[in-house]
Subunit: 418 residues, 4 copies
């Protein structure tokens, strides 16, 4: 099964925007292979506009000339990905990543290039040309590259099949499809992509973006995708992390082997490198532990957003805590137990059993602005654990009916009860 | 802890409407003591308007004269509850129920009688009279008996305290407060009632009605009540049962020891007795098993609505299935796994672990209109059970990664996996 | 035709709230007869709760005992209206007002007294009693006196017929029915009242309150009532006057002989007398001229709210400007020409022709906060007047294609063009 | 003043869709000059896509190549407009129309051609190129030709100025700008167009399309445009005509010299010629008289949609009724008097005075499905006419307080009272 556990990896967006290049990708793959692979991290994902030669930051350039093959398929810009020279595309880079024991992923925008439609370009193995497949009024509101396709036109299936055939040739293991997840009327194109993957002859994880996905579409997403964004782009601001509690609570019940609600990348360590070197995450340490705890309790995929080679000890400790990462693999049926304001403190408590009944996870979040004692009445859960292991502190204590912990503002106490 | 498990009992409304009498209550208590007590059933609840001497059916009579004591408190109509004569109220009937090893409950409308406000009646131990406590424009839209009270007027607390002091004297164990659960601005009066119970000196289960309660008020309800209705009145129509799946899925995460979302009474066996003898439940057998399965999986309280003395074997089997009723006590963290239309059949699948990890419950509902094979991919749950016990059929079989069952329309296959 | 022109008169509410008495009514009638009658003023209206013996201000007293005859009809409290003694009701006061050459009006709440329903009182010439006519959950949200009636119960027509039969006997010329105009589902009771008036044998103006009436109900109101409130209670605050421009613009097209959108009473001179003597209107002189101009341009009824006997010269000048009041009688087809913000000033311009084509009225309002020059391009109207008479200043000038006037903040320039 | 009266003319859309050609335009101009000019008709307007060489019907062809000059300006396709050869554009055709004593108009889509943005074309007298002016996500949802422009980019003003400079050179008197009227955030581009016209050195009527325009934008439209559509495309179906009564009633107050709410073209006589010869208007004669009466009463511009050379006597009589067309020039302050269902007939009555007070117009529409007698109480208007001239029948009668006419279903009685 593809994505039996929530995928874990690194993605270039938070650091390099639309301007990521080959050298950077390799450097992060090297770091991951050496330092993180043994903790379960495996995906290296190249994010948006690897086909645009002139982009420099996160900002797109309308009507720029994109690199495209004769069949309306975008291919890597050689000035940024030199190994793509000679029509090799991402094959050499994928091979490099695979040689490290890791997996390789790319980002694409749904649809067909506007320049392909304007020039009425060919589609591989199709009697249709790009202008027949493109829908002139189906466009992305935030990126100028593509037109949406008409799923009822057979040329659209031809086009998507030709894309994933190429990606399979390159050795791609993971595709993040953008401008599709939260859209109305997205089912036609998602189905085309799903079937293109099924028939391409290679296991490829399908990730849909951007969020927020619609809860009403949960069952469709569980059937046709491996992960889907439950939020718009997530960055290093408390307001966004705070808002994630509500989304996580709503979506947690929809996680399961092969289908994972996705809370987006982890903006930790040095991010936004494309704008200079001074862009360390603005999250406090407490906020980062809160984020990691929430993502693991809801079993979100984990995609690191920071430049790995700049990680300090604290940041490294976040992604190498074995007890923490084990939650992603062992727990199930997680839920937000309650959320309430008590004596001026906003308490958010999550609970998750494990499949073999050997332990339980309890996360006690303080979403308020002052350090507070938070008590959880374990007897209401119907369980009677004897001891509690603190996953962030590494300490253990005995417990009875009720647990009371002192928790920092924006912080968390994450316990393994047994 | 009051209501550590979901309360189970009998309520007079489905059978007798506003016209229940003492003889009927005793007859059902006798039956329960003899036939159901050993399966965990224990509450006998007298529903609405026991203080109205002339009511004959489910329909209320506007501006009728109610039986009231000198302190604005409604008391049982002696023509319907003869043992209440001499100012004894419900004490003799409660004593009778207790003598059978059962518990006694009553229904009340929130607020203070309109006739008390019109006559400016006294309130016990209060300097306020009823007209000062009543709010002239805070009324129930479907029952003419009461005015809401003003929680900011100290006389309102005096009034509610005097009520529960009386109920404690009578020996009441369970109070269903009506016209309060789904209302806007209900928190003031709920708090008064909560505190009146706390200070009355007796353990009393607090049940709030009618629904649908607001999901946004879940944490408040968990703190101040033991059970609350998640639906308007439930009757023996498939449309209502079908609609309950959605409510159950939304509320399941909020159940826990001491606080239970309530899917309302079970209209099984002979109901609507007040209108004649031909009113057997219109639910099919499949629908009744579906209802019992869903209520147990979501851990709703169970309140039988039919006349117990008229139960046939099938109906009796519904409420005496030990493996079924055990779900209410052993399971936790239940959730709707998914709901989808597949090949014309609407499949709804629920899953629940148990606290000791010894087994799992899986309910496979067919909400469609034709018999269908329904497959559940157990591997997506991350568990590997060896055998499956069918709780309704009493049969056992071995299982692997996927389970496929043939399920009747409106029916259920309820499995205990281990 | 009843109310061929917009009714003009005095109403007790702004000054005396629910506590008006006979002496006050007579004093205002005397003043009107002497000073205002010759300008067209004619109605003297007694507002709410003349049947409540103990009310002292604008505030209602829930569950107070009201004066009522044996047929569920409220009658004047003798302690406030001594001439009502001996069962004479308002007949003596109406006779007094008539003797001055004026007309007499009263206010009523729609519905039947709550105390009549509680005591199951009789209705004149009806087989129904009050409890059968009253609807227990159809209540006014701001006054505790009445229950709404059930228009489908024949007793409701009997009741309303008995009311207007009594009012006709008393000599009432105008009835303001409250708690009805803006209500949902108000058509049933309005029809009962309309027919009760038709059959009572006397011309009675029917005024409906409170607003805002619904624009979607305009045609119904034009057929069944003579005036109806387009606004909630209007008081002496600029914000309310400012908001009236929008309502007036929306409703102006619905005014015509016999049916008048009503912008509510004019809070001028000394108001709120019941609270003491220092309550002079807070409107500036400019605002009062703006109000009078707008009411006349939209042809609203004019009901003075202040105590007439306390009027100063300026206030008196507002209600005795013959050229102003002539707009109410001569103009038609008025409309807001435009409303725009120009150079920081909010300009609102109204225009009205007259039926004989002899002149045009142009009102130039400055709804902004600073004195401004406002220009109106008369050529866009398709007319070519030669001169402009300023109705407030009493001056005349020649005009050409465009008119430019300097207008005070919150002020108006009101012109008669010819 | 441009458009002192509502413009009257012919437009090619209803007949020829996107496929109109020079020969057809000339033939209609010839007919108008000979038969209609003396009744006030004067504009000949070439509608959409005169720059698209291959279009054949009302349907657009996405990504087709458009005829464009070197400065990103679309120019007439020579295969359809031969006189445009040699870079002369519409100058020869405009000259021809002028030679007949008529005026010449064209249609444009707001924005800049997509192909200009894709090819980064130049703009006349500007340092900006088309890709800088175009906004990649600001597109028309129903036509594939253009991108919207960014009004904050100085190149956008350069572009629009260059357009109207060209149109002035050609001799264009009327421009219908499409994809702009009902759009959100349309004010920026409308202002650019307004100023481009002001500075182009020629009087050009500005017409905005498509509707429905927003009522909340009325004052803006009155200032910046001469006419604007109050409806989406209007065709020969009763449902659309019926719906126009409501729009007309809402907008009538906003008509005035120079600024006219526009109810769209008149689909009369032979329409949809591009699809074959059998497309006579589906409106009944009564419906056509209703349409003409409503358009004139609300003073909408009148643009004939049918092929003039195919007019029969009845159709010709609609556009040559002098008394009818005089309403457009003499009346003002029109309003819907009322609309109500009476005895199963939906009566809609309009009234309009004239500027000199010499007469009044009264239109009595029967919007119901059966012939009915409809009575209008003239006394409610405050006027006392002596006689009534029937504009469609040409008969005259005396009148008193009330007028009763028998009106056909979907028909009208249009009277001039004096």
């Amino acid at each position: 099964m593809v994505a039996y556990y929530p995928p874990m990896g690194w993605n270039s967006w938070d650091c390099y925007g639309a301007a990521v290049d080959e050298k950077t990708v390799k450097a992060n793959a090297d770091y991951m292979a050496k330092n993180l692979k043994k903790y379960g991290w495996e995906y290296i994902v190249v994010d948006i506009e690897w086909y645009q030669p002139s982009v420099l930051t996160h900002e797109y350039q309308p009507f720029a000339e994109l690199v495209m093959d004769e069949y309306s398929r975008l291919i890597p810009a050689e000035n940024r990905f030199p190994s793509a020279a000679g029509g090799k595309g991402f094959a050499p880079l994928a091979e490099y990543v695979h040689s490290l024991g890791l997996k390789f992923g790319i980002h694409i925008m749904r649809g067909i290039p506007r320049q392909a439609a304007a020039s009425r370009s060919k589609i591989l193995n199709s009697e249709y040309t790009a202008d027949k497949v493109a829908v002139y009024n189906n466009i992305c509101m935030w990126n100028p590259d593509m037109y949406g396709t008409n799923p009822d036109c057979p040329g659209a299936a031809d086009y998507y099949n030709s894309l994933f055939e190429l990606y399979a040739e390159w050795g791609v293991d993971f595709v993040k499809v953008d401008d599709i997840c939260r859209n109305d009327n997205n089912e036609g194109e998602i189905r085309l992509i799903y079937h293109a993957i099924k028939s391409c002859g290679r296991d490829i994880v399908l990730s849909l973006s951007p969020g927020p996905a619609k809860l009403s579409q949960a069952e469709f997403l569980k059937e046709y995708a491996n992960m889907w964004r439950i939020t718009d782009d997530f960055w290093d601001r408390w307001g966004l992390l705070y808002a994630m509690f509500e989304r996580a609570a709503a979506w947690a019940q929809h996680s399961g082997a092969g289908h994972w609600p996705d809370a987006d990348m982890l903006p930790i360590g040095p991010i936004n490198q494309v704008y200079g070197k001074e862009n360390w995450t603005k999250f406090t340490c407490d906020e980062q532990m809160t984020m990691m705890s929430l993502w693991c309790m809801m079993r979100s995929p984990l995609m690191i957003g920071g430049e790995l080679n700049g990680f300090d000890d604290f940041t490294l400790s976040l992604v190498t805590n074995r007890e923490l990462l084990e939650i992603e693999k062992k727990s199930y049926c997680a839920r937000q137990l309650y959320r309430r304001v008590n004596d001026g403190c906003e308490e958010i408590v999550w609970f998750a059993p494990v499949t073999d009944g050997s332990c339980w996870y309890l996360a006690i979040f303080n979403a308020g602005e002052k350090e507070s004692n938070i008590s959880v009445d374990i007897s209401r859960l119907g369980i009677a654990p004897k001891k509690a292991y603190d996953i962030w502190l590494g300490t253990e204590e005995t417990v009875s009916d009720s647990i009371t912990k002192r928790v920092s503002p924006h912080g968390v106490c994450l316990l393994k009860l047994s």
